[in-house]
């Protein structure tokens, strides 16, 4: 047997000199970086720093003007779309449908319409699967939770979350951060764009600081073990 147990894991995401123009404005100005699985990255930066654009390009919602995105070893993002979960600033949910109806439909887009999977996804984010109320009548916090449930419904290996805690109360936000930590522990790579860095301090593995379309700093953090966290 010649297996090497110390081998560095294959990166889930490689960005190579990524540039994105909107007209004459460059939202991304040569972003190059590599990201490993099983880590939770928090992207910080001022408004207009390029955080959301970066996530949209990685998700395949925008084509880069120059450079490339390699996801799970391929530049054809669509081929690995089933391994990516995306949560945007907007909820990406139908107001006229209930939570379960929304999840049922989106699960179908990934080849599954299993009620148990949808019910579990709702319970995981603290929502009642039997809630018949339409999403249009949900509070902002409930929408954010359901939006997270939609993004993780198909058990993606890479999760891209754009401001998941906006308009969410502090307790719900902590719960959501804890869920993300658990998912990271299962080997998923998670990117969280947020202005609430403090929420992620115990959970994040690395903070990426963006400014003017570039990653200007990467700050690795020691992971706090669950025992230490409980004792705090």
């Amino acid at each position: 047997m010649t297996g090497n147990t110390d081998a560095t894991p294959q990166p889930v995401l490689v960005l190579d000199n990524l540039i994105k123009f909107f007209g004459r404005f460059a939202a991304l100005r040569g972003v190059s970086a590599s990201f490993a699985p099983g880590r939770l990255y928090v992207i910080l930066g001022d408004n207009g720093a390029g955080k959301s654009t970066l996530l949209r390009v990685v998700a395949g919602l925008m084509q880069p003007s120059q450079g490339s995105v390699t996801l799970f070893g391929t530049i054809k993002v669509r081929e690995v779309a089933h391994r990516v979960g995306y949560m945007a600033h907007a909820p990406l949910l139908y107001d006229e449908l209930s939570g379960m109806e929304n999840l049922h439909y989106f699960a179908g887009l990934y080849g599954s319409q299993n009620d148990v999977v949808c019910g579990n996804a709702m319970q995981r984010v603290g929502l009642d699967p039997d809630l018949s109320r339409r999403v249009g009548q949900y509070s902002q916090g409930m929408r954010q939770r359901l939006s997270l449930a939609r993004a993780v419904l198909h058990d993606p290996d890479l999760l891209l979350l754009d401001e998941p805690f906006s308009n969410v109360d502090i307790h719900s936000a902590r719960d959501m951060a804890e869920i993300l930590g658990q998912m990271r522990d299962q080997g998923k790579a998670i990117f969280v764009v947020t202005h609430q860095a403090a929420l992620m301090e115990g959970v994040a593995d690395e903070f990426l600081h963006m400014s003017a379309g570039r990653i200007v700093a990467r700050e690795s953090l020691p992971r706090i073990s669950p025992g230490v966290e409980a004792a705090r």
Partner: protein, 224 residues
């Protein structure tokens, strides 16, 4: 996950949302009803005159009414940016197009079924030709309207004045189909000529434009 399963799921979702809101069907019905009543009082045609003009009147009413529904089709997907959730999924883009086109087809067919008796009453219509041919023309003509309408509505969703853009783009390209529908309907109602040529032309139009729309839809969906 296949094109068929995603089309079915999307169609089911759209029908459920329409059943709850009735946005499209109500606005189409109201518009078509206005056209029927106002034209009837404005012209007060005899039975013979009705047969001559009904083909044009019916299809112009349905065309304008359909545009109302077509504008609603994609508006639902833009609210809360739900379209992005579809775009990041591995679901085939054409399944979304087919579901939207079939949904619009059903809405307009329901409208036609509800409006047909009113046309008969208000315009004192009696068909001289075989009635089943009218049904064939209605099915082919409606598909011609909605397949292009669904495509161009998708094309104009990112434009600022999309309600104006859609008819501007859709009407010129629908002229051959509209000619076919009007002439075939008039031929059947008056019994003066055979509608066969126009029915065949509508069938060819449907096949060509459905194929072109399916080929181009992925580019339209992913346009920035």
């Amino acid at each position: 996950m296949t094109t068929f399963s995603v089309t079915r799921a999307t169609l089911h979702k759209d029908l459920r949302m329409e059943w709850r809101s009735k946005d499209a069907i109500n606005s189409m019905l109201f518009f078509a009803l206005l056209v029927v009543v106002i034209f009837s009082f404005a012209f007060n045609p005899t039975a013979e005159q009705s047969r001559q003009i009904a083909g044009g009147l019916v299809w112009v009413a349905f065309l304008f009414a359909a545009v109302v529904a077509l504008n609603q089709t994609w508006a639902r997907e833009l609210r809360n940016q739900v379209l992005d959730a579809y775009r990041v999924s591995p679901a085939p883009p054409n399944a979304l197009f087919l579901a939207k086109a079939i949904g619009n087809f059903l809405f307009v067919i329901v409208l036609e079924a509800l409006m047909a008796p009113l046309f008969v009453v208000f315009y004192n219509l009696r068909s001289v030709g075989p009635l089943w041919q009218l049904i064939v023309v209605a099915l082919l003509g409606t598909w011609a309207l909605v397949v292009n309408g669904t495509f161009f509505a998708a094309l104009s969703i990112r434009t600022r004045s999309r309600e104006i853009m859609l008819p501007l783009v859709l009407f010129p390209i629908s002229i051959p189909a509209l000619l076919g529908m009007v002439d075939a309907t008039t031929s059947i109602l008056t019994g003066d000529a055979s509608p066969d040529f126009w029915i065949k032309m509508l069938a060819v139009y449907d096949v060509v434009f459905t194929a072109v729309c399916l080929l181009l839809f992925e580019s339209v969906l992913n346009a920035e």
